[in-house]
Assembly symmetry: C2
């Protein structure tokens, strides 16, 4: 097994889109920034989200059983940083952008690259994290496909103006 | 639940790093291109990889129980496309780059942004796909953190020359 610092440095090399994951419901409203999100299958339409079990937000998400994956665009670096802070003030975070709701009542970012409103189908715990399997109930998509990327501990952007390799 | 075309269009908005996943062992050698890879936890160091159960490669990966995640750099678009083809000739694919082995015997790409050599700890099936939980046994890291990105059905690159948003 690799040591933790070597693993963390290796993970910094995994370029990833940046997302704000929100929830709302009987357990309350919450949100956090996540890169560990990926598509699983289109039958049924499913994405997964990894979340630290030790975070204050964790029981809120498991309690509500719904979440919205808001895929960020290049202009969202400040919003991403706000929702990533460990001591974040959620009311102030949500006040920093315009939101609506789709199907579940979780907050969908109005100008997200895409918002994926989901029902949590299962949570599998692996070490310090829970893996949420999420069936996508509704989507809303922005016109511009630009994206905010997290790579090597920096925000970067790609999009229509980005250099295509192929 | 959203319809499949809407889900696929939404997934195109999830910017993701591009990886070639390899395996070798008693079940044979194999490899495929994947974007559905993410970090899960650093305790123990774990990543996950999603793989289509219907692919020819699937039983090779489950049979060997080991894999290497090769995180691609901006120059690897052709290699990515070769390993993504449904009718790929694996010998020709592997002949298109220089490889070595780390801990498990799976092929590690010599100039990968990072190669993560892993033991498969569990496979969870969700719909059409299997989710491989992989404990990272060894890593090798390139000097240059540049990355190959898949977004909106195109290859894009980000790296030291990329525009930082913040």
């Amino acid at each position: 097994m690799v040591e933790r610092p070597a693993f963390r440095n290796a993970m910094a090399r995994l370029a990833a889109g940046v997302n704000i994951i929100t929830t709302d419901g009987p357990a309350g409203r919450s949100g956090f920034t996540a890169t560990a999100v990926c598509s699983v299958t289109d039958d049924p339409p499913t994405v997964l989200v990894c979340m630290n079990k030790g975070s204050r937000a964790y029981p809120v998400f498991t309690g509500n059983g719904v979440l919205c994956v808001n895929v960020l665009r290049e202009g969202h670096a400040d919003l991403s940083a706000a929702f990533a802070a460990g001591n974040r003030d959620l009311d102030a975070c949500f006040a920093g952008a315009a939101w609506r709701t789709l199907s579940t009542g979780a907050a969908a970012l109005e100008d997200a690259a895409v918002a994926l409103d989901c029902k949590v189908v299962s949570v599998t715990e692996v070490g310090t994290h829970g893996i949420f399997m999420c069936e996508v109930l509704a989507v809303s998509t922005a016109a511009d496909p630009g994206a905010l990327i997290w790579l090597d501990r920096n925000y970067l952007r790609v999009g229509p103006g980005g250099a295509k390799v192929a």
